[in-house]
């Protein structure tokens, strides 16, 4: 698997560290909504197909990326800096 890091270029899987589902909505830090916290921490949609996920280029620029990848074929569809990507955790 090759991931096209927007900063470093196309690099091998071995350089990246997987950081999981990028669609989870993290409650505001001050939130006391336990249900929302539980959902954020424990639950995943875990789709068979298109999956939006975080990878850190740990062996490169160390930026976090949002990658869209097909979990059935491992095909990588899009890559962007997590900081620039709308939605997801940062929202």
């Amino acid at each position: 698997m090759l991931i096209d890091c927007p900063h470093c270029g196309s690099r091998d899987l071995a350089e990246f560290s997987y950081q999981g589902d990028a669609t989870r909505a993290r409650p505001d830090l001050a939130s006391t909504d336990t249900k929302a916290w539980l959902d954020y921490v424990y639950n995943r949609p875990n789709p068979a197909g298109r999956h939006r996920e975080f990878w850190q280029h740990a062996g490169g620029c160390r930026a976090h990326l949002v990658v869209e990848r097909d979990t059935l074929t491992h095909e990588i569809l899009t890559v962007a800096f997590a900081r620039d990507a709308a939605g997801g955790d940062a929202a």
Partner: protein
């Protein structure tokens, strides 16, 4: 259907092996059942068997998308052990171990459970303490465990690098003598045959495409072979859990599906007797009866339903096996394959009623489903039959996350890839 025995083998050999009957029937699905089990893997088949054998519930169908045993039951590294740390796990897996010890007789099928021992190597004083803690937890839970010195290990496992100059020298090892390996496919086939003999319908090539419901209540399933009604629908589909439950409207679960690769070398004459695990990485190895070295390592570390892994993990695993057994470098890797693991958020399984009325859930086996097969089937059947958990699966609920009563053997927390 005839019992299997040495005698039946002789009799059939004389008649040219022409009189053997199918190991199980290939029935068409009936319109309705008392219980439908989705998933004809080890756990689903074991559940069907125990429903019939322990609870007299025989109007049962097992629906399998492909061929029986096509999931992780036929893709694992065949290790059976109950060397756990936490009391909930010790109880559950030791219950399983006791079932294993009599399984070939119970099923009238040789599952080749061989109690060759599982040895966990420790490579630092801190790791030794952690393993001793675990071994002592086992002993307090009535499970066999021994601590071996490097000298004892060197005698037991020739070929293992126990030298002081090793990159991660062996400082000791936790041995569970009663642990070992079994023939994975035989477990599926043995349960299948035994369930079939008690009247369970095993239906292959029958993918569940949806759920029938009245309100919230699940009342059956839609399949490639038509709608089938049932009073109770039980799910045992491992890595496909999220995918299948989405069809029942359950969008989110404490599960991620990850790919785990396994490997076998070419067959060689007896090389290593017990199962050995490497403590300075993640590697477990044993030798099959055919002679191949069977081994595996970590997940590939990304969500996947592909039953196919990638090269970096292959290289990591090979590096670790060479560090343990430097002579293995000269042997050749014959085959690799991948399985889809249902990684739960604390590394422990979920065997429970719910999450919808009429539905029963069995998932979250992470790396460890094979050894659990008997106890998983036993306690899941109990839960389905009685609508309450057996004592051994009572802690393994879906609600434990809400309460904070997680069962986290490794202490890695809610990062499923690390369990």
């Amino acid at each position: 259907m005839a019992e299997y025995s040495a005698l039946s083998l002789f009799k059939n050999a004389f008649s040219g092996n022409r009189d053997w009957k199918p190991a199980w029937r290939k029935p068409d699905p009936k319109p309705s059942y008392d219980v439908i089990i989705i998933g004809g893997g080890g756990h689903g088949l074991a559940t069907a068997y125990y429903l019939a054998a322990e609870h007299g519930i025989t109007n049962v169908a097992v629906l399998e998308k492909g061929w029986l045993g096509s999931g992780n039951i036929g893709r694992n590294t065949t290790i059976v052990r109950s060397n756990y740390l936490l009391p909930e796990s010790v109880r559950f897996y030791e219950f399983s171990m006791k079932l294993w010890e009599n399984l070939s007789h119970e099923l009238n099928y040789n599952v080749m459970f061989s109690q060759r021992g599982v040895l966990n190597l420790a490579h630092s004083p801190g790791q030794a303490d952690a393993f001793i803690r675990r071994g002592n937890a086992m002993r307090h839970g009535g499970v066999d465990a021994e601590w071996l010195t490097p000298q004892q290990i060197a005698r037991k496992v020739p070929g293992l690098d126990t030298s002081k100059s090793a990159r991660f020298p062996v400082v000791g090892g936790l041995l569970q003598p009663r642990a070992g390996t079994a023939r994975h496919d035989a477990v599926a086939w043995g349960y299948a045959r035994a369930a079939d003999r008690r009247g369970v319908d095993l239906i292959e090539n029958c993918e569940v495409t949806g759920f029938l419901r009245e309100g919230d209540q699940i009342t059956g399933v839609s399949t490639a072979r038509g709608d089938i009604r049932a009073k109770k629908v039980a799910l045992a589909v491992a890595g496909s859990t999220s995918h299948v439950l989405q069809r029942a409207g359950i969008e989110r679960l404490p599960i991620e599906s990850h790919v785990l690769q396994a490997f076998v070398s070419e067959a060689i004459k007896p090389f290593v007797d017990c199962v050995v695990t490497f403590g300075a990485g993640h590697l477990y190895m044993s030798q099959s009866d055919k002679g191949g070295l069977v081994f595996g390592g970590s997940l590939d570390f990304y969500n996947s339903y592909a039953q196919r892994g990638n090269l970096p993990t292959v290289e990591d695993v090979m590096s670790e096996i060479c560090a343990m057994f430097p002579s293995v470098a000269r042997l050749r890797l014959l085959r690799s394959w991948g399985g889809v693991m249902d990684m739960s958020m604390d590394g422990s399984p979920i065997i429970t009623k719910g999450p919808l009325p009429g539905l029963y859930l069995n998932c979250g086996w992470c790396y460890g489903g094979f050894k659990a097969t008997p106890a998983s089937g036993y306690s899941f059947a109990w839960t389905i039959a009685r609508d309450e958990p057996h004592a051994i699966n009572a802690p393994f609920t879906l609600s434990r996350f809400e309460r904070g009563a997680v069962i986290d053997e490794t202490g890695h927390g809610p990062t499923p890839k690390l369990h």
